[in-house]
Each structure stands twice: as structure tokens, then as C-alpha cells.
Symmetry: C2
Subunit: 253 residues, 2 copies
Amino acid sequence: MTTISTGTSDPVSPGVRHVKRPTPLRESVYEALTEMIIDGTLERGRHLVEVELAGMLGVSRQPVREALQRLNNEGWVDLRPGFGAMVHVPAEDEVDQLLAARAALESESARLAARHATKDDVAKLKELCKVGTAYHESGDIDGAVRTNGELHSLITQMSGNRFLVDFAAQVDRRVRWYYTPVAPVRGAASWREHNRLVKAISEGDEDKAAQAMREHTEHTRKAYHDLQAANGSDEAAPETEATPRRRRRTITS
Amino acid sequence: MTTISTGTSDPVSPGVRHVKRPTPLRESVYEALTEMIIDGTLERGRHLVEVELAGMLGVSRQPVREALQRLNNEGWVDLRPGFGAMVHVPAEDEVDQLLAARAALESESARLAARHATKDDVAKLKELCKVGTAYHESGDIDGAVRTNGELHSLITQMSGNRFLVDFAAQVDRRVRWYYTPVAPVRGAASWREHNRLVKAISEGDEDKAAQAMREHTEHTRKAYHDLQAANGSDEAAPETEATPRRRRRTITS
DNA sequence: ACTTGGTAGACTGTCTACCAAGTGCCATCC
DNA sequence: GGATGGCACTTGGTAGACAGTCTACCAAGT
């Protein structure tokens, strides 16, 4: 079964380098579980038993409990007192609400990013746009999706607002999870919009940047709905055991 | 010492009435600790020791640990591995960032509230405005502050977006904590703005509602800065033990 | 056929005890 | 005075125990 690697995988930060801070076990467990939820190893609605997970991951109950509680707070699982945790089953209107929240958060981030952007930031953004477009044109969906994530993440970081960063990161991860069962579409349009967005930021035009980001998110929401409507009955049907649902393609947001 | 009351205090919901679901201890501990942080019983920067808190609250280490971890995730305390938790000491730019995040969240909420408002909602909003203004004019600051909170809370609820509600609630609580050491100002202007906001919502004018909320928050931020500058050296000085800092007045946001 | 009552098993929530490792502090030493 | 070493304290994690509660199932009664 999946066993936790206690290895610390901090991103390299310039300047002071903390020699080594062994990641708390609960953190690793948290990461492992979200991973398993996202990739479908732990299916939606499944009852998660503490000792079972503990056994899987080779740790004791305590770290698992703590991880589960965090997952509960962030909406990945639902904790029913006296019974246990179930992997969250998203309601149909939930994606809509997530995207609305994301629109607000990221559009504000874009506004602030436009306000604070440095030459260096803009260069990085442009580079990401180029790379992403290249990935898209060469048909490398995974690469395009990854670059898309990096671009959005960089923009929120550029806002210089840690709360926006935190919230947006949380929402983004959830969105990506829900999107998983959807086919990849609207790749080209997405990168055109990214270009416009980056242009607005580089010009320091706050309103235009915010507006561009909002429209970008809005288009994503529309695309999701269209797909939902297209293979609606397919997805609306009760989950069959025979559908492993692992690692489907992701939409380019 | 503060002892936990395990009493459940659910808000009354119409229709099905769940008899009684005993709150998990960790939840009560969490509530108790935030309470103590907000009201200043646990001063900023104070070192929190698990066994000590457990003794205070009459529970074992376990629920305390779990509560502390949640507090850490939400930014109320900083957890230093191997040493313990310290009550978070806000950086000066933090309030700014919180208010910026709040501006984004609540302004979007106002937009959606304007979109979805029912006759009933509008009536409640207007009532709150009236009550709040009355409180303000009669000099009942606590009442005005409470009503202000209820108004903002109702608006986010009206957005119908659970994520906006959650995030806004989190931010709001933090904001209220940081504000505590600030004097009450701008009461009259605040309620004038509320009136304009409610009017926009009742007319279903999304853009106007969003704009009104944004300006409202922005004014609050300015007011905070002015006060900060006014008695700047006072607050900037290192905390003296002699300053109990309990229950100071709150600004009307 | 439907409800009621009872029983059994499974899990969580919480407590206690314990140990290893990391951290901060203080006295000591050069 | 500044480095050093050691000590007390605290967390992080493990193990085991136990009560309360939740689910499911079965049997009897209506």
C-alpha cells in the first residue's frame, strides 16, 4: 500500500536556507490523502476509517486524525461525529460557487498584481505564456495544464496578499479536483486570454487586468456547463462500481 | 479557570429538528481558545503550552492539540515545532491585506446578493439598517457594532455562495480581532454607506452594490490608517506588561 | 407487509502513559 | 564578553484502553 515518504520537499527559497526541518507526519499524511482523493484512489463518498488509513500509510491513528480534521475544515471530506470521515461528494452547484469565489479572488489578485508588477515579474509571466501556448500547440495537455496552474499561481503571488494567495490556492485545488472528470477543451482561447491578461498587467492597467481575469474565469465556467449539459445523463447517472475514474483529463482553466 | 460548557448552541432551523448532537470536545476547545484570544485573555505573543491549556479547560492534551492545529491553520496562532504555539502577533501590513481580501469577498457577495435578493431579504436588510442607525445615534456602540456584523453577515449569506460565506466569516473574525485596540470612529458615515448599499441591493443593481461595498471597505481601511498614524508611536511601542488590553472599543466597519 | 425491539459489531472520541527528539535558556568556562 | 555544554521543558508520535454512538441486521409482534 501507499507508504509515506518522510522526505522534505520544500521549494528552494533564496537567501537563508533552513538546513532541514523534518516535515511533521500529519503534514505528509495530509498531502498523501489529498493526493489519493484527487487521483481517485479514494473514491467520492467512501468511508475513511482511521486505523485503515493508518495501516495503509504506516503511521498511528493520531497523525491520521489530525490530517482528517484538516481535510474536513477544507472541505475535502465530511466528518460525521461518531461515525467517521467520508470523502466529500460535491453537489452540482458547488463547482459554480467555487468558480464564482475564484473569480472574485483571482480578479482582485490580478488587479493588485498589475499594481505591483516588477519588470522581472512581467518577464516571467510572458515566458509562462509562451511556454504554455507552445505546450498547447504541440498537444501536450499535461504540460499546458501545469503551466496554466503556474501562471495563475504566480499572479496571485504577485498580489502580495497572503490571504488572497491562501484562499485562491485552496479554491484552485478544489476546482482542479472537480474538473478531473471533464474533457480538455477551449485550450487555444484560454491562452489567448492569458496573453491579454498579461498584457494588461504589464501595462499596469488594474481595471483591465481585473476585468480580463474575471472574463477568463467566466468563460471557464461556461465551458464547464456546456460540457456538463453535453454528456449530462452520462455523468448524472449514479456512479457504477465499474467506473474507476482515475486520472482523467483536465480542462485548461 | 475557564471551563468548557459542552452545551450545543445550534441556531434554530425550521422543519426537521435534530435533537441533540453533542459537540466534539475539540470544537468547544477551539471556540474557547479563539474567544480567549479575541478578548485578550491570551495576549498576543504569549506562549501556549498544551498541558497548561488542557488543565485550564479541564480536558486532556488530545483535544487541545487538535484545536491548536486548527487555530494554526487559520492563522490565530503560530505553531513552532518542538517549542509550542504562540498567539499570533499581526504584522502591520496584515490588516491591510485582510481588508483587501475582505473588499474582494464582500464586494462580490454584495453583487450576488443584489442578484438573488428576495423581498424578505431586503426587508431584513432595511430593518438592520434602521436598528443600526438607531444604536449609533443613541450612542450604543456595542449594539451598533453587533448590528453591523449582522448586516454584513446577512449580505454574504444572501450571496448563496458557501465559499464566500466561509472565507468572509474567517476574514471578518480576524479583522475584528485586530481592530479591537482601535477607537470607535466614523459611525455615522458607515451607516450612511450601509443605507446606500442596501438601496443598491434592493434595486437589484449588481454593479452599484459591489461598488458601494468596495468603497465602504476602502473607507474603513483609510480610517484604520488615520488612527494608526494618529497614535502611531503609542501603538508601535513594545507592549508593556501593564497594558491588559482587554475589551477595548471596536471600530464600526 | 410493516413496524418495533433487541443485539451485535465497528468506529470514533477521549484519556492515559510513555519515549524520542528538538528547542530555549542558563550557568559555566575560556 | 562570547562560545559551550548541559539541563529542563515541550512537542510529535506510539500504544492501549474504554465508553458512547452509529449502522446493520434479525426476530418477533401487529
